[in-house]
Amino acid sequence: MLNKWKRVIALEGTKDIRRHKRLQTMLIILLVIGLTVWSAIGTDFSVYEVFSGVGLISNFLFLDLLPPDVTTSGSLLGAILETLYMGFVGMVVGALIALILSFLAAGTTTPHPIIQVVVRAFTSIIRNIPGLIWALILVASYGIGVTVGTLSLILGSVGFLTRVFADTLEEIDTGKIEALNATGSSYLQVLAQGVFPQFIPGFVAWSLYNLELNIRASTIIGMVGGGGIGFAIQKGIKLFQYKEVSMAIILVLVLILSTEFLTSKIRERII
C-alpha cells in the first residue's frame, strides 16, 4: 500500500518536474526574445536599411578596399613579424603566469578556498575589462609601442588562460589525485606527478589557441599605440590607403592560417 503511494507520488513528481522545466524553458525563450526586441528598438534596427545599403557596401569593398595593394607587402612584412613576436611573447609569458594562477584558482588544486576566491576575482577583473581599456591605461603609463602591445597581450592571455586552465583542472579525475594522496605524497608532488600530466594536453591546446587570439587581438591593440600590424592598419585607414589595409588584413589571414595549421600539427602529436 505504502509502496503504491510512493510510486504515485514519484510519478506526480516527474510530471511536476516536467511542467516546471517546460515553464523554465519557455521563460528563458521569452526573456531572450524580449531582450532582442528591446535591443532592436534601442538600436533603431531596420532590416530595410541594411539591405538598401548593400550596393554601397559593395562599392566600398570592390572599389576602395580591393584589390589589395601588393606592392606594400614588403613594408608590411616587418609589421606582421612584429605582431607575431608580440603575440608569441604574450602567449608564453601569459601561459606561464596563468599556469601558476590556475593551480591556485581551480577547486581541485587550490591550497586554500580563500586563495581560490582571491585569484578568481583578480583574473575576472583582468578578463572582464576590455583590451582597449587596458591598452589606454598601459599607454598612459608605459608610453607607446611594442612594450605596451606586448603587455596588454600578456594581460589578455593571463585573463583568458587562467580561466580555461582552471576549468580544465577542475575536470581532472579527482580519483587520481586521491590515489597519490593515499601514498603519502606532498601537495607539490601530487600537483607535479598526478595533476600536471593530466593537464598537459589542455595546457598545450589552449596556449596554442591563445597564440591565435593574440595575433588577432594585436590588430586592435595596434590602433591605440600598441605597434605591429595593427598600427599599420590604423595608419592605412587614416590616410585612406584602404588597399594597403586590405593587404595587411590578408597578411594577418595568412599568419593566422599558418599558426592554425602548425598548432593543429603540434596538438596532434602531443595529445
Binding site: L35, T36, W38, S39, A40, G42, T43, D44, F45, S46, E49, V50, G53, V54, L56, I57, N59, F60, L61, L81, E82, L84, Y85, M86, F88, V89, V92, S124, I125, N128, I129, P130, L132, I133, L136, I137, L138, A140, S141, Y142, G143, V146, T147, T150, R216, T219, I220, M223, G230, I233, I237, V245, I249, V252, L253, I256, L257, I266, R269, I270
Partner: protein, 274 residues
C-alpha cells in the same frame, strides 16, 4: 588476457637488447618544438627590443595612475548608464543575429552534415575571413551602408561574431556521435529534421555556453565601437580619457566590468543547470 595465462612469464628477465627495444623512442618532434619554441621566444624578445628600465618606471606610473583613478566619479551616471544600456543592446542584438545566422551556416560547415566537403571548406574559409577583419573595419564598411549610430555597430559585431560562432558551432557538431545522425537517417528523416531533432538537442549545451561566452566578448567589443561614432559607453570612456577625467573613466570601466561579469555569472549559473 593471454600473458596472464603464461605461467613462465615471471622467469623472464629483460636482457640489454630487450631493454633497448622496449625503451620508448625519444620523441624528437616534441623536443624539437620545445627547443624551437624557446629559441623563438628569446628571438622575439630580442626583436621586440623591450626597454626594461621603462618597464619598471612605467609600472610605478601604472599603479600611480590606478590609485589616481580612485575614487570613481559617479556624477556623470545620467550619461554613462544610458550609454551602457545602448552598448549592451548593441552587443545583445549583434550576438543574437550572429547566433541565428551561424545556426544555419554551421551545419553547412560541419563536415559530417555538409552536402559536400567543398561547401564545408568554403563556409569555414568565409568564417575565418570574417574573424580576421577587425571589428573596426567592419564598422567602417557598415557605416558606408547605413550611416553612423548603433546600427553599424550591431552589424559589425554580428559579422565578427558570426566568424567565431560558425567555427565553434561546427566543431561541436563535428564532435557529435555520428551514430545518432545515422539513426535518424535510417528512419527516413530529412536533413532539416535530422538537424532539428538529433543534432540540436545533442549539442545544445555546447551551443549555449559558446553563445554566452560570445556575448561576454561582444560587450567588450561594443566598447570599441564608440570611437567610430556608434555611440555607447565606448565614447563615454574616450571622452573621459581625453579630458583626463580618470575618476569618471574608472566609473565607466566599473560599469563595463559589471556588465560582462554579470553575464559570466549567468553563464556559470546556466552551466550548473544544464
Amino acid at each position: 588476457m593471454s600473458e596472464l595465462e603464461n605461467p613462465n612469464e615471471n622467469i623472464y628477465s629483460l636482457t640489454k637488447d630487450e631493454e633497448e627495444i622496449l625503451k620508448p623512442k625519444k620523441d624528437f618532434f616534441i623536443k624539437g618544438v620545445l627547443i624551437f619554441g624557446g629559441l623563438f621566444f628569446l628571438f622575439s624578445l630580442y626583436e621586440l627590443n623591450i626597454d626594461y628600465a621603462n618597464l619598471l618606471e612605467g609600472t610605478g606610473a601604472f599603479f600611480a595612475m590606478l590609485i589616481d583613478m580612485f575614487p570613481p566619479n559617479i556624477s556623470e551616471w545620467a550619461y554613462v548608464l544610458p550609454a551602457a544600456i545602448e552598448s549592451l543592446q548593441v552587443a545583445i542584438l549583434g550576438t543574437v543575429i550572429a547566433v541565428v545566422i551561424s545556426l544555419v551556416l554551421a551545419f553547412l560547415a560541419a563536415e559530417n552534415l555538409a552536402p559536400s566537403l567543398w561547401v564545408s571548406r568554403i563556409v569555414k574559409g568565409f568564417a575565418t575571413l570574417m574573424r580576421v577583419i577587425p571589428t573596426i573595419i567592419w564598422a567602417l564598411i557598415f557605416i558606408v551602408a547605413v550611416g553612423l549610430g548603433p546600427l553599424p555597430g550591431v552589424l559589425a559585431i554580428a559579422v565578427h561574431s558570426l566568424g567565431m560562432l560558425i567555427k565553434v558551432f561546427a566543431q561541436s557538431v563535428e564532435e557529435m556521435d555520428e551514430g545518432k545522425i545515422e539513426a535518424l537517417k535510417a528512419s527516413g528523416a530529412g536533413w532539416i529534421q535530422i538537424i532539428a531533432q538529433a543534432v540540436i538537442p545533442t549539442v545544445l549545451t555546447a551551443l549555449m555556453s559558446w553563445t554566452i561566452l560570445r556575448l561576454e566578448i561582444d560587450i567588450g567589443e561594443s566598447t570599441i565601437l564608440g570611437l567610430v561614432g556608434a555611440g555607447g559607453i565606448g565614447w563615454e570612456l574616450m571622452r573621459a580619457m581625453r579630458s583626463y577625467d580618470f575618476n569618471s573613466a574608472l566609473f565607466i570601466t566599473m560599469v563595463i566590468f559589471i556588465m560582462i561579469f554579470s553575464v559570466e555569472m549567468l553563464s556559470n549559473r546556466l552551466k550548473l543547470k544544464v
